[in-house]
Amino acid sequence: MTSSIAPGASPAISQQFLTFSLASELFAIPIEHIREIIEFGGLTQIPLMPVFLRGVINLRGAVVPVVDLAARFGRAATEVGRRTCVVILEVTQDERVLPLGVLVDAVNEVITVEADQIEPTPEFGARLRAEFILGMLRLSERFVIALDIQKVLSVEEMTQLAVTEELEPELAATLAVTDQGF
Amino acid sequence: MDEPDADTPPESARPHKLGGDITIFRATELKDDLMQALAVADQYLDLDLADVQEIDTAGVQLLLSTQLEAAVQQKPLRCLNPSPQLVAVLAMLNLTDRLLAGDGA
C-alpha cells in the first residue's frame, strides 16, 4: 500500500483538496501542490509525443508541459470544452520543484476533509494503478479518488514512456495503465 | 652655599610651567613664552610639563627647538614631570632619550 495519508488516524488533521472531473469521474488533489488554475489556450504540441503529453504552454515566460490526465490514466484523450482548464502543479524531482500543468475537464471546488473521512484504497475496481491513489475521500454522497500527484506526474516514468512510445506505442499504453510487474 | 653635588641637579629658578595644549594654535604665543623663560633662566631651563594635555607636531618642534636654543645659550633644557600624554607621544617618536633623559642634553 502506498497510501500516504493514514486513514482513520487520530485527531482532526483535516486536509484541503481541490476536486475536479475527468469525463464523469471526480478526482481530488491535495492543495499544497497547486500553484494556480488557468484557462486552456495557447498550447503548442510537441511532435511524436505520447497522447498524455499534450504539449507545452507559456506561463509568464516559463515553458510548462501540460499532461492530459485522462490519457495518462489510459483513457481517451480529453476533448477540449468550455470548462476545460489547466491546473498548474508543483512537482518535486531530484530536489527541484518544477511546474507541471494537467489538463482537466472541469474544476469543482476546494473541500476540507477530516482525517476520518479518508479511507484506504480499495483492493480492486478502481481502474487505476494503486500507487497513483492516495486514498478514497468519503464525501456525503460519493467517494472521490485522491491522487498522489508525485507518482502520477513522475517525470522519470513519463520520460521513459515517451521513449517507449516512439518504439512501441502499444506497449507504452499498457504500461501507463497497469503495474509494471502485473 | 653647598658645593653642588654631582648627583643632585643644582638649584635653579622655579621651573617654568608649560601646560595645557602645546599645539599649533598657541605655537607663536608659546614660542615667545619659552624665549622669555630662557632669558630669565639661570643655569638650566627647567620646564614643568605636568599639565601638558595635547601636543602636536608644532609642539614637539617647539620642545626640540627650545632644546637647541637652550644649548646655544648654555642653559641646558630639562623637562620635568612630563604628563602621561607627553610621555606617550615622545615614546612613539622615539624622543624619550633625547628630551626626557634627566640631565640636560
Binding site: - | D56, E69, L93
Partner: protein, 726 residues
Amino acid sequence: MDMDMARDALVQEARELLDAMEAALLQIEASGADSEAINAIFRAAHTIKGSAGLFAFNRIVSFTHIVESVLDRVRTGKLPIDAPMLSLLLNCGDYIAQLVDAIAARVEEVEPDPARRAELEEQLNQLLGEPAQTHAAPAPAPVASAIPAAQTSVVEDPVNSPYWHLSLRFLPDVLRMGLDPLSFLQYLGNVGTLLNLRTLPEGLPPLAQLDPEQAYLGFELDLQSEEDRAAIDGVFDFIRDDASIVILSPHAPMHEYRTLLALRPDPQMLAEVLAQGTLTADEAARALLPPEETVESVPVNAPVVMTETAAKAPAARQGEDKKGGYEQKFIKVEVSKLDLLIDLVGELVIAGAGASLIANRRKDSQFEEAVQSIAELVEHIRDAALNLRMVPIGEVFQRFPRVVRDISHELGKEIDLVVTGADTELDKSMVERLSDPLMHIVRNAMDHGIEATEARLAAGKPAAGTLRLNAFHESGSIVIEVSDDGRGLNKARILAKAIERGLVTAEQSLAEHEVFRLIFEAGFSTAEQVTNLSGRGVGMDVVKKNIESLRGEVEMLSTEGAGTTVRIRLPLTLAIIDGFQVMVNESIFVIPLDLVIECIDLAGLDGHHDIVKLRGEPLPFIRLRELFELPRLEHGRESLVVVQFGQQRAGLVVDRLLGEFQAVIKPLGELFSRIKSISGSTILGDGKVALILDVANLVHQAVQQQAAPQNSKAAGSLASPQKSNG
C-alpha cells in the same frame, strides 16, 4: 563584516593564488628559475597566510608559515630551486588547497590529512634545518612577456627587513593647512606596528629662528603589517599632495633603498639612521655605494615605483595577469547577478518581439520604424550581455599542464603538452561541465594512445609524445580537439571487440568513422590491461553523454600508427540566438539562423521530389512534415531550407517560411529530453511557444537516410518520382 562572505572571499582569493603559484612552479620547471616567478610564489604563500591569519584559521596559517619560510630562503638564494624542491612545493600547494577546501566546507578545525601534513612538514623542516648556504641569486630566465624591464632584470638581493619601511618628509606649510604629521603616524598605528621610528630634526632651527607654524620634522620608520600596500598608502591620502611619502615593501630590493638615499638631502645621515634598525650595517653601507649592475637594473621607471603618487606600479607586481602584454582590467561579478541580467535581457527580447508584432499589424510606419530601432538596440544589448558570459577556454585548459606532468611521471612516459587556442571563448556555464570529459579524454590519450618511450623510438618517433589541446570557432560552434601522436586506433581490433560485445554483427560493413564511433558505446573497451588511471578505457560513453547534455557532439579521427584526435563540437550560446521561423503544417518551428545557408522555394517545381541536387551535388534532405507525422497543408508553399552543421549540409523541407527573429531559448525540461529533433523552445511575440529544431540531429538523420533510404520515414514515400531538381 558578514563572516560568510568574508570566508568565501578568502577561499576564492586563496584558490586564485594557489593557481598562480602552481603555474609559476610549472613555468620554472619548464624554463628555469626567474625572480619574478619566485616572488610570485612567495607572495602567494605570504598573502594566504596573512588573510587566513585575520580569521585565525590557524591550521592553514601554521602550515603556510613553514612553506613561506622555505620560500623565503629560496628567494634569498639560500636554498636552490631544483627538481625535488619544485615537487615538494607543488605538493605543499596541493595540501594548502586541501586546507582551503576545509575552510570552504566550514570544517577548518579538522586537519584534512594529518599524515600527509606531517610528511610534508618533515621535508620542509629538513630544508630549514640545513646550514644556510649561499647559492647564487637566481639568474633571470629569458621570459617572453611584456613585464616592464624594471622587474625582470633586477638581480639585487632583497634586504633582510621583513617590515615595510616608510620615509616621510613634509612640505613646510602642512601645519598651517591643518594637517598634523603626528596624527598620521598615530593613524598608521592602526594599520600595523610602528618600529624603529626615527624623528629627524635636522631641519629644525634654534628657537629664535623658528617659525612656530612651519613643519620641519621628517620621520623614518618601519612598519610591521599584514596589510597590503594600498592600505598603508591609503593612510596618507589627505596629505599626499603636500608630502613626500616613500613606502618600501618588506624585503625590498637593495636598489630601492639606494634610490631613497639619493632622493633625500643627506644620504650619509640617512644611511646611518637606517642602520639603526631598518637595515643591517652592511646593507646600509651598500646602499650608499653606486650599483654594480648595469643601468638596466635601475631604470628610469624605478623612482615611479616609490614616489608618493604612483603606488600603482608596485601593486601591478603582485602577480597580475600578463595576457598578451597588455593590461586587462577585470571586475569580479557574482554569477547569479549575471544570470539575472541575461534573464532580463531575454524578457526584453520577447517583449520587443511582441511590440514588433503589434507594430506590423497596425501598419503605422512611424511606429514600425521606432520599434525597429528598439529591436536593433535590443539585439546589441543581447549580444553584449551574452558576451559577458563568454570566457576563454583557457580556464578549462589551465589545469592540464599539471595533470599531464603528474600522469606522465606516473606512467613513466615522456609527454609534452601543447596548448593552442586557449583564448577561444565559450559560454561560462559550459566550462565546469567540460572539465571532466576532457580529463577523461586526456587520460585515455596518455594511457592508451601514446606509446612507451622504447616503442616510440622503435617506430622512429621522437621519444617524447606530444599531446595537443586545441580550440577554435567554426560556423556557430566551438571545436575542441585533443590530439596525440601515439599509436592511433586499430580499426580491426575495435571491430572485433564490438562484434564480441554484440554491438554489431560480422556481416555489417561499416565506414571508418562508424567503427570509431563504436568506442562511445557503453561497455566498450579496447584496453588490454586495466590501469588505475583510466579504468578500463571506459568513460568514453560517459564522455559522450556529458558532451551531448551540453548539446554538443564528439567524434574520433585517427590514423593507425600516427595518432588520434578526439574532436568535440559545442554550440556557442545557450541563451539567446537569432532564429528563423518556419511553418510545418500549422506548427511554427525555429531554426538557429547561423546554421541556415539559404532557402529555396520549391513551389514552382512539380511532382514529389526524392532527390534534391544543389548546384550539382546531391543534398540529403528531410521533409519535416513527414518526420513529425503531421498532416499535409493544403495551400502551403513548400520551401527547402539548406542548413549546415560542422562540415555537413542538409535540406529541411518546410511548408512556409516566416522570417527572422530573436529567440530566447527556454529549455523544454526533462520530460522532452529524449526527443531527438528538438533542442529547446522559445516564446514568440504572440506569447505562443515555438519549438527549436536540433539541426545537428536533423542533418545526421538526413545523411543517414541518404545512405539507406529504406530505413527512413521522411525521404519520400511515394512511388514515382525520379525527377530531380537540377
